[in-house]
């Protein structure tokens, strides 16, 4: 008979875990108001650790008594995951947090003009000092929250998809890269008086990589710094094209990237909320590629503006020529080798390249020194950072999880995802293969695609899925009740449809 007795016990454990999580959040809220429940030396690492453990307990209570398998029961009934008022409340809380974090860090307790930190930021001073030797900043606190969320919700994800090794490996990978490469290593580098550097991200997601201060900092930091600088270049021009050719953009977007890591763990309960409409797809294509053009043009402009000072061995003119070659040669090669498949996309690509070309050239020929496109270089960078770095990736990207799904930033905004997507679509062995005629058009694949790809539309026609936006999370294949979909690295990048 139904194991009501056992599940009752699990329910109690789940409530206990919920209680612990609530207490931890309450302690944070109190500490934010400068009320200490525990000494900071304990709570700065104790609260994050306790959160991860409580999440593990909760995940165990939620999933361990069920046989392994896909259990999306009630996803569209629960108010939190179906855009009802709890979702709106959570969204409001998250967006408010991001607004405060980016624009009013003093309200989190950041001390300015040498004053010591207060509130929430002061609470994390002991942990920050232990790692890097410096007092905490709002970014350190954010990093702790971010990493804690990926670890805690990552454990939940591991339990939920424990029957699927692809999902387990992928999740362990994002947890590892967030904790080790995005959080701990840069702090330890600071403790060793080396530049803060995250090896697991690269330009253009790492948007200040080519800024003068960053380049100078790396190049003046000895052999390690130079190595970091060239690692960043190698990631852009050698490693990422190769890995994307070999495995698709998933190697980064759903195995390494921190934004992807949060989306895949904390964002997993909201993945079905992404819009699958044709209009959303059109907006996506124009928006993400426009941001890519802006990001590339701005970066070229920024580099050119400091090359004009004459302190570097590269002249502005040779740099502009070189970068335009780097943009045009692969595009020309693409247009030539894949002209049959491209059709409409070709015009968009040509338009984008032409636009970029003209922006860069006009800027090169007519903008005065220190300005990008007749605007002060610092101002351009600031506005890009404001709109793309803060508003899009943070406030909307994470704040809108409960409304628009977990990959809003990755789908509509991330310029790195745009580059990897172009590579994936035209020059990668990755595809999602459809298994003969077994598709029953049930639609689970489309519903649970966080990138809003209408997977069913391909599957029911027996067509393989080759889409620039696909991050290769593999959930479509996991939720398919008939084993119709499989993520594959084919023998060749051609003829994969």
């Amino acid at each position: 008979m139904a194991p009501t007795h056992t599940s009752y016990r699990y329910k109690i454990v789940r409530h206990i875990a919920d209680g612990i999580i609530f207490l931890l959040l309450a302690m944070l809220a109190l500490r934010w108001m400068d009320i200490r429940v525990l000494p900071d030396t304990l709570s700065s690492w104790g609260i994050p650790l306790a959160f991860v453990l409580a999440m593990a307990l909760r995940a165990w209570a939620q999933y361990a008594h069920r046989p392994p398998g896909i259990h999306n029961n009630g996803v569209w009934f629960r108010p939190l995951t179906s855009r009802k008022w709890p979702a709106l409340t959570l969204s409001l809380l998250l967006t408010s947090f991001y607004v405060v974090l980016y624009f009013y860090p003093q309200y989190l307790g950041l001390g300015s003009d040498g004053a010591p930190n207060r509130g929430l930021i002061a609470m994390f001073d002991p942990l920050s000092k232990a790692l890097s030797g410096n007092p905490a900043s709002q970014w350190f606190v954010y990093g702790v929250f971010y990493t804690t969320a990926i670890l805690g919700f990552g454990i939940k994800f591991l339990m939920k998809y424990r029957h699927n090794r692809y999902q387990r490996w992928r999740t362990l990978s994002v947890m590892f890269f967030q904790l080790g490469f995005a959080f701990l290593l840069p702090e330890l580098l600071m403790a060793l008086n080396k530049p803060y550097y995250n090896f697991a991200t690269f330009w253009p997601l790492h948007y200040y990589y080519f800024d003068q201060w960053h380049v100078d900092q790396l190049l003046r930091a000895g052999l390690l710094g130079k190595w970091m600088f060239f690692w960043g270049l190698a990631m852009i021009f050698i490693l990422s094209p190769y890995l994307t050719y070999r495995f698709g953009k998933r190697w980064f977007c759903s195995w390494v990237c921190g934004c992807g890591g949060l989306a895949e763990t904390a964002g997993d309960p909201f993945r079905h909320l992404s819009s699958k409409s044709l209009r959303a797809w059109q907006i996506e294509r124009y928006l993400i590629h426009s941001i890519l053009v802006v990001a590339v043009a701005m970066t070229i402009g920024v580099i050119e503006s400091y090359l004009r000072t004459g302190q570097y061995w590269l002249t502005p003119r040779s740099f502009v020529v070189l970068s335009l070659l780097v943009v045009t040669l692969p595009s020309a090669w693409l247009l030539f080798t894949q002209r049959e498949q491209l059709a409409r996309d070709a015009r968009i690509l040509l338009a984008a390249v032409a636009l970029l070309f003209s922006i860069v050239l006009v800027n090169h020929l007519f903008s005065p020194n220190g300005e990008i496109f007749f605007v002060d270089a610092g101002t351009v960078r600031k506005w890009y950072g404001f709109f793309i770095g803060s508003i899009f990736s943070g406030v909307i990207g994470v704040g809108f999880y409960p409304i628009m799904g977990s990959r809003v930033w990755c789908r509509f905004g991330c310029p790195l995802a745009a580059i990897l997507g172009i590579q994936q679509k035209f020059f990668s062995r990755f595809r999602i293969t459809v298994n003969g005629g077994q598709c029953i058009s049930c639609g689970n694949c489309s519903v649970y695609c966080e990138m809003g790809i209408d997977v069913r539309d391909y599957a029911q026609r027996g067509k393989n899925i080759v889409r620039a936006s696909c991050v290769g999370c593999g959930i479509c294949a996991a939720v398919c009740p008939r084993g119709v979909l499989r993520l594959e690295n084919g023998p060749s990048y051609k003829n994969k449809a």
């Binding site: 077994q438 049930c442 639609g443 069913r456 294949a477 996991a478 084993g483 499989r486």
Partner: protein, 431 residues
């Protein structure tokens, strides 16, 4: 303009409509009294379970029908005047046609058990069945499901997802062992019970008992048990929805009898999908196959035939799939529940992980005839190739990784199968 009327907008009718309407000289009218739009019947369960919304059931965007100028009518066809080529609709309209396609689908099979007409006796076929079940759900504490097949286990999973107690009455000695072998069926039995279902094998329904107000109060089983319940789900299969056509000149046996071009005995009238009964069948195939993809293929064939490219519907190699709670099932080719005198089974099982692979092969030359997979995914193209080329079993086993379709990292069982085969097959089949 050739006017094509299609009765029924299931996968057969909708596929035919879309394929015919692509040709400019045809105007298509698609009539259904169930829904104004085509939906994936196979996914009804996921709406009830909250995995997807009702709007997600539509396989195509609404705009597609307008793009191809397909007229959709939400009404019931009450009568067909085959002589004058007119359809009469319940709301009084008359639709003239030049070509008629009958794609009326199935209706749930039922037996006249005492109490079968009580309130809260339900089925799972039409969208309306789902609405009724949803309406009754708050009143259900305990549900009884009658019939151990694919729909019965879906209904059990649905009700368990809404925390209902479920008793599942199965006439056979194991779940679906008219298709699965006992070894496979026992694995499913165990899994059904693991999901908290009270599975009662070798048990039939005797009577549905009134609770005193015209609603279901209990069922009495063939073993004499009285099981109090607030809902009874009847899932003992489907039959062609043709009763309403029996008085016509249409040649009807169990279904509407059609030739290889899906033509009925009346000129310009075709029948496709669940309601069609094929005059000639391929080996190991049945004249009526109420399956999603066969309906889709018939829709494509009839569309080609009507639009000037006569295409016979040929049953190829059989395949199908299902999911029993968490266990996926795929089958390719001919795999009977028990071996014949000329054939044998290679069986590998990993019960803790609910995995099972059964390959049916000929004793004389070891050529494989079919494959049943539980808990693992196989590539259809590869399986069909092996079966069509009569590949010997040892070769199939050694090439098994070619057919692996599980997510990356989930195919370590392949080596277990190969090792098990080495140990088993050559000891029992040595000359």
């Amino acid at each position: 303009m050739t006017r094509v009327a299609i009765i029924g907008n299931g996968v057969a009718g909708a596929t035919a409509a879309l394929h015919i309407a692509r040709h400019p000289n045809y105007s298509v009218t698609l009539i259904s009294d169930e829904t104004p739009y085509f939906f994936a019947r196979t996914a009804l369960m996921y709406v009830y379970m909250g995995h997807i919304r009702a709007s997600d059931l539509k396989p195509y965007p609404d705009t597609l029908w307008d793009k191809y100028h397909i007229q959709r009518i939400h009404d019931r066809v009450t009568d067909i005047d085959f002589q004058h080529k007119h359809l009469h609709l319940a709301e009084g309209n008359t639709i003239p046609y030049d070509i008629l396609i009958l794609a009326t689908g199935s209706i749930p099979h039922r037996i006249d058990w005492p109490g079968i007409h009580l309130d809260r006796v339900g089925y799972l076929y039409h969208l309306q069945d789902l609405h009724r079940l949803e309406h009754w759900t708050p009143h259900i504490r305990h549900a009884v499901i009658v019939g151990g097949g694919l729909i019965g286990i879906e209904l059990a999973e649905m009700l368990r997802s809404r925390h209902k107690q479920v008793t599942f009455l199965v006439r056979e000695s194991h779940f679906w062992n008219i298709v699965l072998s006992d070894s496979e069926a026992q694995l499913i039995d165990q899994h059904i019970r693991e999901h908290g279902v009270d599975l009662r094998l070798n048990t039939e329904l005797e009577e549905i008992v009134d609770d005193g107000s015209g609603k279901v109060g209990a069922v009495r089983t063939s073993s004499g048990d009285l099981i109090p319940c607030q809902y009874v789900g009847i899932t003992i299969g489907v039959k062609p929805n043709v009763q309403w056509l029996r008085d016509s000149h249409l040649h009807i046996d169990t279904g509407i009898v059609v030739d290889e071009f899906l033509r009925t005995n009346i000129e310009d009238v075709y029948a496709i999908g669940d309601c069609a009964q094929l005059q000639h069948t391929a080996p190991y195939r049945r004249p009526i196959e109420p399956v999603w993809y066969t309906a889709r293929e018939m829709g494509q064939c009839v569309a080609a035939t009507i639009t000037g490219n006569p295409t016979p519907y040929r049953q190829g190699l059989w395949y199908n799939s299902a999911k029993f709670f968490d266990i996926e099932y795929q089958t390719y080719g001919y795999v009977p529940p028990h071996p014949d005198p000329e054939t044998d089974d290679f069986l590998w099982q990993d019960p803790p992980h609910y995995r099972s692979l059964r390959i049916h092969y000929r004793r004389d030359n070891h050529a494989i005839l079919g494959i049943n997979a539980l808990g693992l995914r196989l590539r259809q193209e590869q399986c069909h190739q092996w079966i069509q080329q009569a590949t010997p079993l040892p070769e199939v086993i050694s090439q098994l990784p070619l057919a692996a379709f599980d997510p990356e990292g989930n195919t370590s069982y392949l080596r277990d199968i190969q090792q098990y085969f080495q140990a088993q097959f050559y000891t029992t089949n040595s000359p």
